[in-house]
Amino acid sequence: MLSARFAVSAILVSAPRLARMAFSMVWIGVTLGRRVRRARRAFEKQLIAEGMSNEDAKRISTFYEELKDNIVQLSMHGVSLRNRI
């Protein structure tokens, strides 16, 4: 009885804050692609300024996408592992 009442009161009290946190996380995920594109463009500009060809600069800057994929994959993996445990 105590645990059920506690659970209900804890959920009611914490729902707005959990919703806020979930929204923040989703927003970070949504804006991540835009951030990566901007960082890539700035990175390419510096390489091109030193005389590198556009194609080479673009190829080298793909590491940003890989890094993003690694981080996203890692966070997803962490969540799924926690669920399994």
């Binding site: 009161s9 009290v13 914490s14 923040s24 700035a42 510096q46 590198m52 590491f63 690694n70 592992l81």
Partner: protein, 135 residues
């Protein structure tokens, strides 16, 4: 007998009173913890993401790679070699991501090992029980 019943009732009332008093502070504690977590954790993640994936970070990383490429070219290396070496240099940043990824794999592997151990333990316990029953 009556005294025992009275003392049991007192205990029940005490427990009930303690529970009702206790549930409110616990809910309040959860509220306080979540208020800190909900504001601090997204800010921390946002900061971490911004430190790697921002225009400023891209520019400074690009400056480092460009300086490396320039010094290789000035050293007399051919264009394709300089580009390949710059690519390798830049890939070291991605390898940090690989390290984190591998940490995840190690955790997964440990989890699987633990599952195997539990399974083996269960089997050995079942075997022991069967042996006991037979004897």
């Amino acid at each position: 007998m009556i005294l025992e019943e009275v003392s049991v009732m007192d205990d029940k009332e005490k427990t009930k009173k303690w529970s009702s008093e206790r549930s409110i502070p616990e809910a309040q504690e959860v509220k306080e913890i979540l208020s800190v977590v909900s504001s601090e954790v997204p800010a921390l993640i946002k900061g971490l993401v911004a430190s790697v994936f921002s225009e400023e970070a891209g520019r400074s990383m690009g400056k480092g790679a460009a300086a490396y490429y320039k010094s290789l070219k000035e050293g007399g290396l051919p264009e394709d070699v300089a580009v390949r070496m710059t690519e390798d240099y830049v890939r070291t940043f991605t390898s940090f991501g690989e390290v984190f990824k591998n940490i995840g794999h190690v955790r997964k592997h440990r989890h699987e090992e633990n599952e195997d151990l539990r399974e083996n333990l269960r089997k050995s316990e079942d075997d022991e029980e069967e042996e006991d029953e037979e004897s």
